[in-house]
């Protein structure tokens, strides 16, 4: 953990909406200054509510929350001043030009005019939206709007940048481009990054540490590599005859204690290169198996193992 004044601290966070829905239950984590931290989970896991609390648009039922060294309950305006956010949906004045949207942000965040002008020029170039910046936002493509929103979020040089599913709904090419841009901006400005996503690749690519959320709780938190290492080096995936497959592997002395099942497919994590032996045993058997494959583990496997459900679902 680095300098706390630029980071995020969440302790015992709970949120219960009117009507009794418990969106968050005893969520705790710390993000160090300059660290990139991901909240990973399926829809309804509580990621966006967490971001809402951190950006002061959701009032917590319980908990202590600090952003950039400021208590979000007692120093909400200060906490917002040191934060930037890219929302899940497009949040732009479509009748105004891209430049007008950026200028509005600069003034609300009280940037000196000269600094704002220079920063807008710099960011429009970095984000590749120089050609469209003076056009009304309603004429922008989805990718251009996202670039503009990212430029806006980092315009005032925030200590903490929140990205709430920043690439959802975008095509893979644009998604990869945005990942590069976000990575470059972070490397240049050194800001703390808190990202929510259900794209595993996005989390692995952008985040140094990840918290996996499920039904309002943090169920695992570590670096992507450490989370993946819990499942060993390779995964055996077998479609068909799942109970017989488990029994056969057990009979051959292959450890199947971590096996998990989705529908007719079972997934078996392997350590120590047992995968090849398992594949040979299954191919030699006469079990009614539709397909066998061996692959490297992913964060989805981690999530499946922890909850029995898929992140992608």
């Amino acid at each position: 953990m680095k300098n706390e004044t630029g980071g995020v601290r969440v302790q015992g966070l709970a949120k219960k909406y009117r009507g009794g829905v418990e969106a968050l239950r005893d969520v705790s984590f710390r993000v160090g200054s300059g660290e990139a931290f991901g909240l990973l989970g399926p829809n309804g896991a509580g990621k966006t509510t967490t971001i809402g609390v951190l950006t002061t648009t959701v009032r917590p039922t319980a908990g202590e929350i600090e952003v950039g060294g400021f208590d979000v309950a007692r120093q909400a305006i200060d906490a917002r001043r040191v934060s930037g956010i890219v929302f899940q949906d497009s949040v732009l004045d479509r009748g105004l030009s891209g430049r007008a949207n950026l200028t509005l942000h600069a003034r609300l965040w009280r940037m000196p005019r000269d600094r704002a002008r220079a920063r807008i020029d710099e960011l429009t170039e970095v984000m590749g939206i120089g050609e469209v910046i003076d056009r009304p936002v309603r004429t922008y493509s989805g990718g251009q709007r996202r670039r503009l929103e990212i430029a806006r979020a980092v315009l005032a040089e925030p200590r903490v940048l929140f990205l709430d599913e920043p690439t959802v709904g975008l095509d893979p090419t644009i998604r990869h481009e945005l990942w590069s841009l976000i990575g470059d901006l972070r490397a240049r400005d050194g800001m703390t990054l808190v990202l929510t996503t259900h794209y595993l690749e996005e989390a692995e690519r952008l985040c140094e540490r990840i918290a996996i959320m499920d039904r309002g709780r943090v169920i695992a938190m570590d670096t992507p590599a450490a989370l993946l290492s819990r499942l060993g080096e390779e995964m055996l995936e077998v479609d068909g005859a799942s109970e017989l497959v488990t029994q056969l592997l057990g009979d051959r002395g292959i450890i199947v204690a971590d096996v998990f099942r989705i529908g007719s497919t079972i997934t078996v994590p392997f350590r120590n290169g047992d995968g090849d032996a398992a594949v040979r045993a299954l191919r030699d058997s006469s079990l009614p198996i539709r397909s066998i494959s061996v692959r490297r583990p992913t964060l989805d496997d981690v999530y499946l193992r922890l909850t029995g459900a898929s992140l992608k679902g």
Partner: protein
Amino acid sequence: MQLLTLYRRRLRLLAGNPRELIVPLATPVLFAIVIGPALKKALGSFNPHVDYLTFVSIATVVLLVPLNAMFSGLSVFADREHGALRELLAAPLPRWFPPLANVMATLTITTLQVTVLIVAAVARGATYHATASGVLWFVGAVALLTMIYASLAEVMAYRLTSEQEYIGNVPAIAIVPWFFAGSLFPISVLPKGLAIFSKILPGTHALALMRHGLTGGSTDGLKAIWGAHAGAADAAASFGIVAVFTVGLLLMSARAFRRSAVA
């Protein structure tokens, strides 16, 4: 500075949507230049002391203000659905700034529209006798009434979930009170119960003040509210009532915004 930035933003967005500027103006201008003269022609002989054109043209301000405010309130829906409202919620500014900036922008648009309306009425033959203090009464009443309806529009827009629901409420809120405010006839001719109801409405007090201001200190409207001894004190009392409504609704709009902003 931040408040001014929000105010300018709202004006730019309103200016980019001419429908919201022109439609509210259409009905009052029609009243001022067509219906007012027609009433003068048709009814003027019944009461030669009343110039119906002038009488109705001032009343149309009390129709214009709510209509304009309610149309401006529609922009809250646009802001919420397709605009930068959430960006404003994440900005480092007090939560009462955005609704106040919206009210200020509505006040500016209303000022321009009332000017157009008055010019149109004068061109059609309305005669006003206004002293400096009379203009102040008029301007003060228009400003407070605008803030009342702009705040009310904000409250409704933050609380209601759909534009359809909002638009469905516009006639009841913007038009019906106009008929009870003494717009087309003095409230003294209303049945007693309705006359009492009309005295509760801020539009009734605002209209009496506007007529007091633009017709050379005429106290007919104030007399109908306060009784035969109407004078400066009664004008101040009506102004006070409108001011109380204004402060109350401004506070309500700030509260409605905060409640809609924070889950």
